[in-house]
């Protein structure tokens, strides 16, 4: 029992060390890690919200500007969680300092938890920053703080896991930008950030339902505004399922040493 207790203390210290290191990393280079998303979304607010939005009128009963806020916040969360883990973990492979962790007695799940929490932390920081910017442009009343926060955290965790898996398989710095550019960004844009899928023809509505991003954007919109194209329970279930699957897969990759051990 005593040994167990001290094991857990040791794991906690390791987790804390990785998380702190990750937070320090993105804070130290905040101009590259935090600022870009804030600037981009501010531009979205100005252009789509203010300039064009006034002409669009309402969507699902909300001013267009209000309608796109949840999607834009979540987009910041997604891109930044993913980017943080993929670039940090890949760098540690590239410069070999991942070996510092591999030779240490840190269990794989602690390593994974540390990196994923680091990515989630950056996602949440950016999400909060974008939200604050949004509040300069709109007067949103948060519908359900709990749902908002939960979805935000779960999405951040999920995409941190995605970034981790991407980093494991990556063999060059090019490999870490392929998925964000060719998969993540299109799926986010098509995930109903800028429109309600109710506007789409039947067929494309069905296709949209295959996009996991749609569930997150809508659940998050429900949290903030109280409207969603998707039943909220389904959205939670989907995200949870993805988290479980990707966690199991990441641990499996670590156990087999894929991409990190020869």
């Amino acid at each position: 029992m005593r040994r167990r207790l001290s094991d857990w203390q040791r794991y906690w210290v390791t987790f804390e060390t990785i998380l702190t290191k990750e937070i320090m990393r993105f804070s130290r280079i905040w101009v590259q890690t935090i600022l870009p998303s804030v600037i981009t979304t501010t531009l979205y607010f100005v252009i789509f919200g203010r300039l064009i939005g006034e002409r669009i009128g309402t969507m699902d009963g909300f001013a267009y500007l209000d309608f796109i806020v949840p999607g834009l916040v979540l987009m910041g969360v997604i891109t930044n969680s993913y980017a943080n883990v993929v670039s940090s973990f890949y760098s540690s492979k590239f410069s070999r300092y991942i070996e510092e962790l591999l030779i240490s007695p840190a269990p794989n799940w602690v390593i994974l938890a540390g990196y994923v929490s680091g990515g989630a932390a950056r996602g949440l920081v950016v999400g909060t920053a974008v939200m604050l910017v949004a509040l300069l442009f709109t007067e949103i009343q948060i519908h359900s703080a709990l749902v908002t926060l939960l979805i935000c955290i779960m999405t951040a965790v999920l995409f941190s896991l995605g970034g981790f898996i991407n980093a494991i398989y990556a063999n060059s710095f090019d490999d870490i930008s392929i998925v964000p550019t060719f998969v993540l960004t299109p799926l986010t844009y098509l995930g109903g950030v800028f429109y309600s899928i109710a506007l789409l023809p039947d067929f494309w509505q069905k296709v949209s339902l295959a996009n996991p991003l749609l569930y997150m954007v809508n659940a998050f919109r429900y949290g903030l505004l109280g409207v969603s194209d998707i039943p909220i329970g389904v959205a939670f279930g989907m995200i949870m399922l993805f988290i479980v699957v990707l966690t199991a897969f990441s641990l499996q990759l670590l156990r087999r040493g894929v991409g990190v051990k020869t």
């Binding site: 203390q9 040791r10 794991y11 210290v13 390791t14 804390e16 060390t17 990785i18 290191k21 130290r28 760098s91 540690s92 410069s95 070999r96 300092y97 991942i98 070996e99 510092e100 962790l101 591999l102 030779i103 240490s104 007695p105 840190a106 269990p107 040493g257 051990k261 020869t262």
Partner: protein, 311 residues
Amino acid sequence: MFALDVQQLAKVYKGGFQALKGVDLQVDEGDFFALLGPNGAGKSTFIGIVSSLVRKTSGRVQVFGQDLDEDPEGVKSSIGLVPQEFNFNLFLPVLEVVLNQAGYYGIPRREAKVRAERSLRQLDLWDRRGTEMRKLSGGLKRRLMIARALVHEPRLLILDEPTAGVDIEIRRSMWSFLRELNAKGTTIILTTHYLEEAESLCRNIAIISEGAIAERTSVAKLLGQLRTETFVLNLKGSVSELPELGGFVLQHLDDCTLEVEMKRDHTINGLFEALSRNGIEVISLRNKQNRLERLFLELVDQRAANLEGRA
């Protein structure tokens, strides 16, 4: 107890290359042990498996009685590793590198700070604690790898070619540091392809060549053997009983052939006098190169090649 007990260790890399071919090796607790071998012999592969950086294909590894497969955390906690190649986050300051490593081993921050300071002071790096890694010279980076490896006070320190590319002065100070550490009880294993390094530091030695242990002995014995020359003598007539030749070690190959080992202080004249006294006539003699000598010629050749490459 053995600090390291390795049985039938084999490694086949992806692509099919067999880097280790069933290595058996035991290192006593408290030993200062050299793993000597030419480039490509499998030293780093061996060390990599023991320190969990490389996955073994088969075989068993035990460190202070703990099995790598059954208790990897226990094994990892007992080992400090100084790898062959730099593996730093170049954007971190020196102190943080050591603190992080301590954290990975589960040492709480406050304790980690005390230990990091001690480690860095031991290796004369405390004044550089704020310097970013990328601004450190190669020699200082090598020393920092040692400081980092010691922060969790491992019982077994493994160094993979620790003095490669380090100038004489730093090399000497590293040597005396390692000697002191070993005297205080840390078991040390180092790989090298300099015999001088093994000679000056280590008590026991294994020579590895093409993925297999070619020799496992004490450094003193090895040097003795290297300083011995073996001659094969063809005799006129046969000798059934080996004569007593003060100091020379004789061996029968067959009735008409003898093998004699000569130490450095022996002379050929002395040998022939002794043989004549015993009525043995020699028709011809040839120098026999032993296996060890061949191995060492290989090492020497390689060093020459390395030096040329650097010039």
